[in-house]
């Protein structure tokens, strides 16, 4: 058989009060793509941090055997020296430096006293070619999209002579086509003999490219599935992750569609900085009571921008068009107006612009509708606590108490607090932007159930998502958006992944 590149044996890692890893075993064969899956908090990232030396030797128990020898890494430099490179979920690129500068950051070409820029950029261009990027290595990072940035990270790893590439959620912020590109690249590298470990929540990708899948649950290795021997279908992986069969990934509901609740007509929004660039171009949509409406499209299609511009004009310039809520014309000039018109926008990036991480669950829950817990601008803290507890129960948020800081919660629970905040604001129309990004299967299911409850109460939900199965599984009607325009509308019955993709592709050709 092929040789073993890495073996992690009986790894234990304790944090004060918590046992993060329990007797974890991981075996990586040379030249394979090994997927590491598990719910949030299962210990995937901790394990990789142990491997890369972020948690130095001595802070954990167990052995790391790499290329036949026991390794004692004291820091990331040590592991990189051996050719182990980890690419974190949050990209570590400096926006105002060029691709080339970023690629050799900390690993500069030339001598300490003088950087050899010619070598830097020549080498960088060469590496960019290998990952299939056509941009010049003198382009600034801020001027390229997330998808390309991810590729730059990979070429940065290549510059370090990587033998074992670890990718933590590489496709979490990529759209379908960029994700596919990235995965193809990994497959190509595999043919050149590179070994990679990929951590992902997107199980379809995992079962598509992985040779072996190791499942972690509650800090312990549950099993390793091998392609060709075991079933590595999504259902099977989920079963291993949650410890039971999850028969329905999308909860069922009785659809009762009512009158039109929101109608947007001829909505045009210009980019706030680049003049004359239309971000939303003559968009018209309607939404009904009791309906889950999906907006599908690639990253940068203008979905978030559309939502935010509707939500009190919080994005864009020179917004034109009409909005009717329950048949009445409304003008919303601020977020406050929008909230008063019973609109809610559950933001896409919960840490960046959704929650206040340093504040408690209580204060986050009430922030969007302080009137409900205050009189003459004086806050009634008891009412606040009650409200927070009420939503904590309703959404079964897991926390030590509602006094807990939101920053200390897991991703899924943070998302629930974010939902609590907007449900507390009593909206009739909720726009949810990527409501399940980066959270595990179990928490996703719970979020879907909450969405179903909301529409069952006669509210309307707009769901913006880059994950097509989710859009197809949850929505009653789907708009497809591309380059700022609505390019297709489909009902649940005739929507398929292929139909959505082809409508996007066709519209791009036309333009």
């Amino acid at each position: 058989m092929s040789e073993t590149l890495l073996e992690m044996r009986n790894i234990n890692k304790n944090f004060p009060g918590v046992r993060a890893l329990k007797e974890v075993n991981l075996q990586i064969t040379k030249g394979e793509i090994h997927a590491l899956v598990g719910e949030n908090g299962a210990g995937k990232s901790t394990l990789m941090n142990v491997l890369s030396g972020i948690y130095p030797f001595g802070s954990y128990e167990g052995d790391i055997i790499y290329e036949g020898e026991v390794c004692r890494f004291n820091g990331i430099k040590d592991s990189e020296h051996k050719g182990i490179v980890i690419i974190h979920q949050e990209l570590a690129l400096v926006p105002y430096l060029t691709i080339g500068e970023n690629m050799f950051l900390g690993n500069e070409r030339g001598s300490k006293a003088r950087i050899d820029w010619d070598e830097t950029y020549n080498k960088a261009d060469e590496l960019l070619k290998r990952v299939g990027l056509k941009d010049s290595s003198r382009t600034l990072i801020k001027d390229i999209g997330v998808g390309k940035q991810q590729l730059v990270e990979i070429s940065k790893a290549l510059a370090k002579n990587v033998k074992l590439l670890i990718l933590d959620e590489p496709t979490a912020s990529l759209n379908e086509s960029d994700s596919q590109k990235l995965l193809n690249l990994l497959l190509e590298f595999k043919t050149h003999g590179m070994t990679s470990i990929i951590i992902s929540h997107k199980l379809n990708e995992v079962s598509g490219i992985a040779d072996k899948i190791t499942i972690l649950r509650d800090g312990a290795t549950i099993e390793t599935l091998t392609k060709g021997i075991d079933d590595i279908g999504e259902e099977r992986i989920i079963k291993g992750m949650v410890g039971r069969d999850l028969t329905d990934r999308f909860p069922k509901r009785d659809v009762k569609i009512g009158d039109v609740s929101l109608a947007v007509k001829n909505w045009t929004v210009y980019h706030p900085i680049y003049e004359g660039r239309k971000v939303c171009d003559n968009v018209s949509i309607t939404l009904h009571r009791g309906e889950v409406l999906g907006i599908s499209g690639l990253m940068g299609a203008g979905r978030t921008e559309l939502a935010m511009s509707i939500f009190g004009g919080s994005y864009g310039k020179n917004i034109s068009g009409e909005i009717q809520i329950n048949g009445k014309d409304v003008k919303m000039r601020s977020v406050k107006d929008a909230i008063e018109n019973k609109l809610a926008y559950v933001t896409e990036d919960r840490k960046g612009n959704g929650l206040i991480l340093d504040m408690s669950i209580i204060q986050n829950t009430t922030l969007a509708k302080m009137d409900k817990v205050s009189r003459y601008n004086v806050v009634d803290k008891d009412l606040e606590v009650n409200a927070a507890n009420e939503y904590k129960e309703k959404l079964s948020t897991k926390c030590s108490s509602v006094e807990q800081k939101v920053g200390n919660l897991s991703g899924g629970n943070q998302q629930k607090v974010l939902l609590s905040k907007w449900m507390f604001a009593d909206p009739d129309i909720l726009i949810m932007d990527e409501p399940t990004r980066g959270i595990d299967v179990g928490a996703k299911y719970e979020i879907y159930c909450i969405i179903n409850q909301l529409v069952a109460q006669g509210k309307s939900v707009v769901m913006i998502s880059s994950e097509m199965p989710e859009i197809l599984g949850m929505c009653d009607r789907i708009y497809v958006m591309n380059e700022g325009r609505i390019v297709a509308e489909m009902t649940k019955e005739n929507a398929t992944q292929e139909a959505i993709m082809s409508s996007i592709l066709q519209s791009s050709k036309g333009a």
Binding site: F15, P16, G17, F311, G312, S314, S334, V335, K336, A338, I339, Y345, T347, G352, N353, G354, L355, I356, L357, D358, M359, Q363, L367, A368, M370, D371, S374, N377, V378, V379, K381, D382, V385, N386, N408, K421
Partner: protein
């Protein structure tokens, strides 16, 4: 057990303050230079630091919005002081009209800076650095490089006198005022607790409340006796009480107060939750101008003069107090109570070192070290806390 630990951790700066006070007391009495807790010295401590407390309250609001500081407060103090001197001493205008105009000037200056900071989004550091030069320059133009003094007794009495006026009743009046303040606080606490219980809400532990009240009683009683021993209650202390109470209430209990914290915690999230962050920022700086003017009125009365060099370094005292008192340099965390403790801490350091006869230059160096140590301590203890969580 856990509660005690928690309480200790929350009040580390208070404990540090007590330790420093005791340390000075020991050093001072060993060197035979009297006592830190001498009645006259306690009065002195309050008078010396009144302006720091007022400025720290305003500075805290600015820091809360996201670690923004206001460098111009010392210069606003000198400009408003110069205006007060010109109007009251030179032009002999009505005192109340003069006070009103001074406060108004403070608000206008604050609004001017607030406008650039909040609506045009010029970094606060730059706008207030410009203000620092601009207002001091204008003050020097107004004073023509001269010091205006003395202020009439009619003006001074509102800031420098003591309650009661006659020395006969000082002890009785201070004790009664102390008792009333304590009783009002205690009754409000107990009533609030009973109300909470009736509504079926969770209440904090009873022993905790009792300990808090007993400690507070001890502090108020000691202060009342010490003040009674000397000249009575300084009017400025009452002004400080009002400022601290008003801003403490504002930051902890009101919706606009909450918005300050929300903005400092995450401005984008606050904006998308319907908080008008521009208005919040504008308010914080306008208010800073107002409180600078209040501090200016107190200062000219205390020094009985309006001098061109007045107010130098005041901004740093205020900023230092906030950070020693646990405010985050990134915004979003910090309390008025903390800022007051920070201000007292700095005051005790100044005062204690002066009594010990330590050279003024050394005093500065020590204060610098203490500021850094306090913030380092705070950051480290928070780190420990978060790894435990």
């Amino acid at each position: 057990m856990l509660n005690i630990k928690e309480a200790l951790r929350k009040n580390t700066m208070v404990i540090a303050l007590i330790v420093v006070m005791l340390l000075f007391q020991v050093l001072i009495s060993i060197s035979g230079k009297g006592s830190l807790f001498a009645p006259s010295n306690i009065t002195n401590l309050i008078l010396q630091n009144s302006y720091v407390v007022i400025l720290a309250a305003g500075m805290l609001l600015c820091i809360l919005t996201g670690g923004n500081i206001d460098l111009s407060v010392g210069s606003i103090v000198v400009l408003v002081g110069a205006t007060a001197g010109t109007m009251i001493v030179n032009m002999k205008l009505n005192i109340f009209v003069s006070i009103f105009v001074c406060l108004l000037i403070g608000v206008i200056i604050g609004a001017w800076q607030g406008f650039w900071i909040a609506y045009i989004r010029i970094p606060a550091f730059i706008v207030t650095l410009a203000g620092m030069m601009l207002w001091r320059g204008l003050a020097q133009v107004l004073l023509n490089g001269l010091t205006i003094s003395p202020f009439p007794e009619d003006y001074l009495q509102y800031f420098t006198s003591f309650l009661p006026n006659s020395p006969k009743y000082t002890m009785i009046v201070s004790v009664i005022v102390g008792a009333v303040v304590f009783l009002v606080y205690a009754v409000l606490q107990i009533l609030g607790r009973i109300q909470k219980k009736q509504k079926g809400y969770e209440v904090s532990s009873l022993p905790g409340l009792i300990i808090k009240l007993v400690l507070l009683f001890a502090v108020i009683a000691a202060l009342a006796f010490l003040l009674g021993e000397h000249k009575g209650i300084p009017v400025v202390l009452i002004l400080l009480g009002i400022v601290v109470f008003a801003y403490g209430y504002f930051t902890s209990k009101t919706v606009p107060g909450r918005h300050l914290y929300a903005m400092g915690g995450n401005e984008k999230a606050a904006k998308l939750s319907g908080v008008n962050t521009n208005k919040v920022l504008f308010f914080a700086y306008t208010n800073m101008g107002f409180l600078s003017a209040v501090a200016a009125l107190v200062c000219v009365a205390r020094f009985n003069s309006a001098a061109p060099s007045a107010g130098t370094g005041y901004e740093l005292d205020a900023i230092g107090s906030c950070f020693i008192g646990g405010a985050s340099a990134y915004g979003g965390t910090g309390t008025i109570g903390g800022a007051v403790v920070g201000a007292i801490f700095m005051g005790v350091l100044n005062n204690g070192m002066s009594i010990l006869g330590i050279d003024a230059n050394w005093q500065k160096a020590v204060k610098g070290i203490v500021l850094l140590a306090a913030v380092v301590f705070d950051v480290l203890s928070k780190k420990q806390q978060s790894t435990k969580g």
